[in-house]
Amino acid sequence: MLNLIFYAFAALTLGGSLAVLITRNVMYSAFFLLLSLIGVAALFVLASADLLAVAQVMIYVGGVLVLVIFGVMLTHKPKPETTTGPQAARPNYILTQHRAWLWPLLVAAGLFTAFYSLISRIHFSLFEHRAPFQTSVDTIGKQLMTEYIIPFEIAGILLLAALVGATYLSSQGDRTNNQ
């Protein structure tokens, strides 16, 4: 039963990601990404990481993806004559160029090998015995505040830097593109 659910969500995740790659409409790929991210969140629940699952939904689905969609809406739609094909003239199509596939493929393959070798070499201490399904909120809270306090504060500084950077970028954009 549990395996069945796992495979269903894994299929959802993979199918969503494949659809993101295959569809040429940027807006559609953004919405397929939604499916894929939700599938990952469900996998987190099955992996006994409930806080991570919710964080995935709240940050990636509720935040980052909204950002992506806003970004798509922000971009100028190219004029129909610059893009080729019969579909480009239709109203709902913001198409990707989709020509250069060699370099992305190389990068993806490189990343995959790197991650795969990394993951296969890690020795998970909990790997042997069955994971106890415990809520991770308590543990994360305690560890974050004691053992991992330095990375935590560095994350705060990183967020601050991101805030400042976003402000800088937008003030630049405001001057040139006063909408």
Binding site: M27, Y28, F31, L34, A41, D50, L51, V54, V57, M58, V61, G62, G63, V66, I69, F70, M73, P91, N92, T135, V137
Partner: protein, 387 residues
């Protein structure tokens, strides 16, 4: 999970599902009646006694209208929009505890769809998905008004989500758990005055405001503000698709009322609950008495929910709509700093002798400041609004 428990859980979920649909349906009727009452009119009174069949007539009408899809819309996303809005609205009611527990044989089953440790976050996750229903629909319509409404809705929702998340941190500090049931139980420990609305008045006000904004209710209904945007994000919608958007709003209202009642008003607890439930168990026996006490608690919970639904309507016919810059300023420049201040003051209070009522300090200071600035302002002259 035991099969019996599983079946009972399924029945509870089915019941909650049906009840939320029923309440949402009748909210449309009550809303019109409340509006009529406030404006000294009669309201719907033709369909059935006191117009009670009006929602059913409306639903029938919606069903038989033309299911219209504009030529330039992207068809699948256009259908997906209202479906997503409805789906997210229906999903969030699962973690709300509607009552204590039902006892039969040797089972003791809580009246709740699912009891998970991260119930509060589950609701927030589903709420953050709620943006998509509007955004997908608005974008797919290929209409300028819809797109503007959708973008407004999306940025409004995400702006108020931050303050919404921050405002309940103080409650979590007191309960030490993210489970909605644990929060409800923790409020009951100190009796009637231990309800979070008394310990966290500021958090409650912030949460309530954000709940209004998340439901797109007046005074935050800019995404569908008809003077500027025709119908907002659902301009192009008709038939039951439009019905889904409107319906989702009422279900959201019901769920947020339930959530507010359980976070701040003790959920299914009511004053002198202990004594009443003791008296019931003594007179009716442990099993029946307990079940009757649970039923009374559930009734009390629904009473609170109905009050908040009424409150939503009351505000709708009282407060005018904000301007968009006012809305954003309220969300970012007032509510977020206030909720951070609330966290810090409450945390200090809790660390200092475990005092729960520290949040009142901010309320008192704010009230004093407001009175002072009011008395200093010249009489009989309204200061001009500046954006």
């Amino acid at each position: 999970m035991d099969l019996t428990i599983f079946i009972v859980k399924s029945i509870i979920i089915l019941a909650v599902f049906g009840i939320s649909l029923l309440i949402a349906t009748y909210s449309t009727y009550v809303e019109r009646k409340v509006a009529a009452f406030m404006q000294d009119r009669i309201g719907p009174d033709r369909a059935g006694p006191w117009g009670l069949l009006q929602p059913i007539a409306d639903a029938g009408k919606m069903f038989f209208k033309e299911d219209f899809i504009p030529a330039q819309a992207s068809k699948w996303l256009f259908i997906l929009g209202p479906a997503l809005a409805m789906l997210t609205a229906l999903m969030s009611s699962a973690v709300i505890p509607f009552g204590d527990s039902i006892r039969f044989d040797n089972y003791d089953i809580p009246v709740q769809g699912i009891e998970i440790n991260i119930g509060v976050l589950y609701i927030f996750g589903v709420v953050s998905l709620g943006v998509y229903g509007i955004m997908v629909g608005g974008w797919a319509s290929n209409n300028k008004f819809s797109l503007l409404g959708a973008i407004r809705a999306a940025s409004q929702n995400i702006s108020y989500e931050v303050a919404l998340g921050l405002s309940i941190i103080a409650i979590l500090m007191m309960s030490g758990s993210l489970s909605v049931r644990a929060i409800v139980e923790q409020q009951a420990e100190a009796g009637f005055l231990g309800w979070n609305v008394f310990t966290q008045p500021l958090g409650f006000i912030i949460f309530l405001t954000c709940a209004f904004a998340e439901c797109n209710r007046t005074p935050f209904d800019l995404p569908e503000c008809e003077t500027e945007l025709v119908g907002g994000y659902h301009t192009e919608y008709s038939s039951m698709k439009l019905g889904f958007y409107l319906f989702a709003e009422y279900i959201n209202m019901f769920v947020s009322s339930a959530f507010i009642s359980s976070l701040y008003f003790g959920g299914y607890h009511y004053p002198f609950m202990e004594q009443i439930s003791n008296a019931l168990t003594n007179s009716l026996g442990a099993v029946t008495g307990h079940n009757v006490a649970t039923a009374i608690g559930t009734a009390a919970f629904f009473g609170k929910i109905f009050f908040f639904i009424f409150f939503f309507m009351w505000v709708r016919w009282t407060v005018p709509r904000f301007r968009y810059d006012q809305l954003m300023n309220l969300g970012w420049k007032i509510l977020i700093p206030l909720s951070v201040l609330n966290i810090i003051v409450s945390a200090s209070g809790l660390l200092f002798n475990g005092m729960k009522y520290a949040s009142w300090l901010i309320v008192i200071v704010a009230t004093v400041l407001a009175i002072m600035s009011n008395s200093r302002a010249p009489k009989g002259q309204v200061s001009p609004q500046r954006s």
